[in-house]
Amino acid sequence: MHVPPILAALRKHKSGVVLISLQIALTLAIVCNAIFIIANRIERVSRPTGIVENNLVLATQQWADAPTGSDQASIDKNASLRQRDLAVLRGLPGVASAAAVSTVPLGGNGWNGAVSRKPHISIADRSSYQMVGFYFMGPPGVSTLGVKLIAGRNFKPDEVTRLTQGRPAASPVIIISRHLAHRLFPHGHALGQTVYLNGKPKPITIIGVVERLQTMNVGFSNNFAFDSVIVPQITGIGYSVYAIRAKPGRMAAVMHEIRPALYKADPMRVMDDDSVQSFAQIRHDAYEGDIGMAILMGVICLILIAITAAGIVGLTSFWVGQRRKQIGIRRAIGATRGDILRHFQTENFLIVGAGIVLGLLLAFALNILLMRHYELPRLPLSYLPIGALALWVLGQAAVLGPALRAAAVPPVVATRSV
């Protein structure tokens, strides 16, 4: 295929060429970034939390008649109410296990804090501590959530202490996530090592490491999403959170039974419509915005691609109609149908190519804009050849119809005067 005559022909309708190239460029820039956003969100949403998510129910409630003071009597009363509730839950036929926890991954509410290898930390010196999400639960909590211990052991019942809101950690042992273990001890085993919580002077021993445990926060810029600490304490004054593991196939029934059973044990408590939630619901709520964003970007990409393809079909059809006479002449002096077809295909290839070059620059410019304002990572280079290839294929597919019609122009057209 000779390119120079095609370029010469293109020069005859510069504005149309510029418009299609521009459209290709904008489409490439937007689609690359939109798909990058989609990929980003999908990756975020599909991260496993590290707990066994199936058949897990979370029940949150407040007691209306529990003392809310921070004194020992209040703490003891709350503990006995909690034990009574747990006995009720464990008595349900579909329940495999139940435990009091402070929160669950993606649950939203909870305590963040700092872990360090030295007793005193300086907030200004970020290297002196590691931000973490704290979980408070006893050994049944660890086993009910189904986190996987890869080193060390679960807590023993006598290691569990009670905690009131705001009182510093009193337990001498913790379990941490592997991600946190690597951050704190990059060169060695974290098991058995001593760390300090929230800059307090009391040494705490790591007795277990779990494979993975996401924190309760889902903020987009959360950079300690998998740095978790489990403290063997029971928290909550006036309220409680129960993790309930249903037996396989009994999940729906258990979710129906929890509220009536707890109310039956004590009607003076607050449980509203979302007091009993499956973990699937918690996960959905946590990532609703991300999933919606991905869908929105996907819809916009589809509209964009459809419009661009339709635009190419429209303009090329016009050019074919405009050049019927010239096509006829070329056919009359010996050009085959294939030659005409290839002419339009090559033409489209060149126009799309020009658009792609401009589009790559625009894609980066748009990415930089998004990075600066919306905490989006840098667009990986691999997106560009894939995007370019996709648009070339799109262009060729769109041009095929009009090009075939051009190839079908009979040579006799050349002899007609109008």
Partner: protein
């Protein structure tokens, strides 16, 4: 001639129905995507209290010091420590001021057999209500004397009033909150400002308005727990609320109303004087580092507009731009195909102006058709926002006259812009060249 050009345009658009449909749909999709995302963006970026947002200010006092604020770019904590909030209330230097914190107390229904439930609200001072222009349906705020004597009084929202009292005038009735009887002094009309500007530290957009407001001093007195964020550089040394009240943890939101620039300057001086006093007392070991942002600045600083809505708008505007380029290309093809026709008209004496007129009218017809289809698609889009945005954001997007008018306007302006270049080309067709080539 206008009617004639309309006829000509219609005939031309009918001649190639596929191309016309393509243009109309391009405009409609582009406009609908941008208008849908705009309706969301508009609802989250609006001024919640436009008539007085420039007189409302949020004071911040640096009780943490430069080294602890370093991770936050030197900015003081977003909320106040309890002791600073109490001191600012005591000093009472602004026209209106209120410390506040979110609460979610238990309410026990009077009728037997009803389960207790919890309702979210804020603990505030009586000045809060005139400051934020909270609309009362019945009764009024409690008095400053009630604040001082820690009275058990409450202002309730319309939903809670419906739930407890069937929507009637419940002023003077009592509600059992957290073990104590509270007397209702006022019932608000449905009121749910977006964002909840008086306390964006604890969330911005909410599907429902708040259920109740109790006096701040009373809430502290009965130990009503905080239902919001608390930031500490070190945990409180004492347990419970008492520990939080004595700590340097920041958890109390604060707002003041200042009605003139001299009042603003005076309040700034007061804040700095207060911080200097704390410095002299040895509590702060740094010089005053306070902020006094007005509400618009505060909302910007707190990034209350969700970034997702901005990205969506940006991408949708990009889509509209592509649609414009696409329509320009198609109109150009359509118009230039009729170069011969234009040549004849020009040769017969039609001035350029008439050609402009004819083709701009044709472009505008595409715009109007695109706008009408765009209206339908925008309505679908706004309804469908609930599928892709969280409920607290999606519930804000709504269709109103201004959105509909804007949709049509954007379609027509967009198509006219898209039609400018093709029309220019059509008007500059060389009649002699066209006649000869035919």
């Amino acid at each position: 001639m206008f009617g004639y050009y309309l006829q000509l345009g219609l005939r031309s658009l009918k001649r190639n129905r596929a191309l016309t449909a393509l243009m109309v749909m391009t405009i409609a999709f582009g406009v609908a995507a941008s208008m849908t995302t705009w309706s969301v963006f508009r609802s989250v970026s609006g001024d919640p209290i436009p008539w007085k947002s420039s007189s409302l200010f949020v004071p911040q006092i640096d009780n943490w010091g430069p080294s602890r604020n370093q991770t936050n770019g030197g900015e003081p904590p977003q909320a106040l420590a309890y002791m600073d909030a109490v001191n600012l209330m005591r000093a009472h230097r602004a026209r209106y001021q209120s410390a506040m914190y979110p609460v979610s107390p238990l309410i026990v229904p009077a009728r037997t057999g009803g389960h207790p439930f919890s309702e979210a609200g804020h603990a505030v001072f009586s000045e809060f209500f005139p400051m934020v222009d909270a609309p009362f349906k019945y009764g009024s705020a409690w008095s400053a004397a009630d604040d001082a004597k820690r009275a058990r009084v409450v202002v309730i929202g319309s939903r809670l009033n419906d739930k407890l009292f069937g929507g009637g005038d419940s002023v003077g009735k009592t509600i059992h909150i957290g073990g104590t009887d509270y007397r209702v002094t006022g019932v608000l009309k449905p009121w749910n400002p977006q964002p909840r500007f008086y306390d964006v530290v604890n969330g911005s957009y909410h599907v429902h308005g708040e259920a109740l407001f109790v006096p701040f001093n009373t809430a502290i007195d009965v130990g009503m727990r905080r239902n919001g964020n608390m930031n500490c550089y070190t945990p409180p040394t004492e347990p419970g609320m008492q520990g939080e009240e004595q700590s340097e943890c920041s958890w109390v939101a604060f707002m003041v109303e200042l009605d003139s620039s001299s009042q603003v300057a005076a309040y700034k001086r007061f804040l700095d004087g207060y911080a200097r006093q704390q410095q002299q007392a040895g509590r702060f070991t740094w010089s005053p580092n306070n902020r006094l942002r007005d509400l618009p600045q505060w909302l910007t600083y707190m990034h209350v507009v969700p970034p997702n809505t901005r990205i969506a708008l940006l991408v949708a505007l990009g889509l509209l731009l592509v649609c414009l380029v696409n329509t320009t290309g198609l109109l150009l093809a359509k118009f230039m195909r009729r170069s011969g026709e234009i040549g004849v008209r020009r040769a017969l004496g039609a001035p350029r102006r008439e050609i402009y007129m004819q083709y701009l009218i044709e472009a505008a017809m595409v715009g109007v058709a695109g706008g009408v289809l765009g209206l339908a698609l925008t309505s679908l889009g706004v309804v469908g926002v609930g599928l892709v945005m969280p409920a607290n954001i999606a519930s804000l997007a709504h269709i109103n006259v201004s959105l509909l008018a804007l949709t049509v306007l954007v379609s027509i302006v967009a198509t006219a812009l898209a039609g400018l270049y093709p029309t220019f080309r059509a008007a500059h067709v060389n009649p002699a060249w066209q006649l000869r080539s035919n």
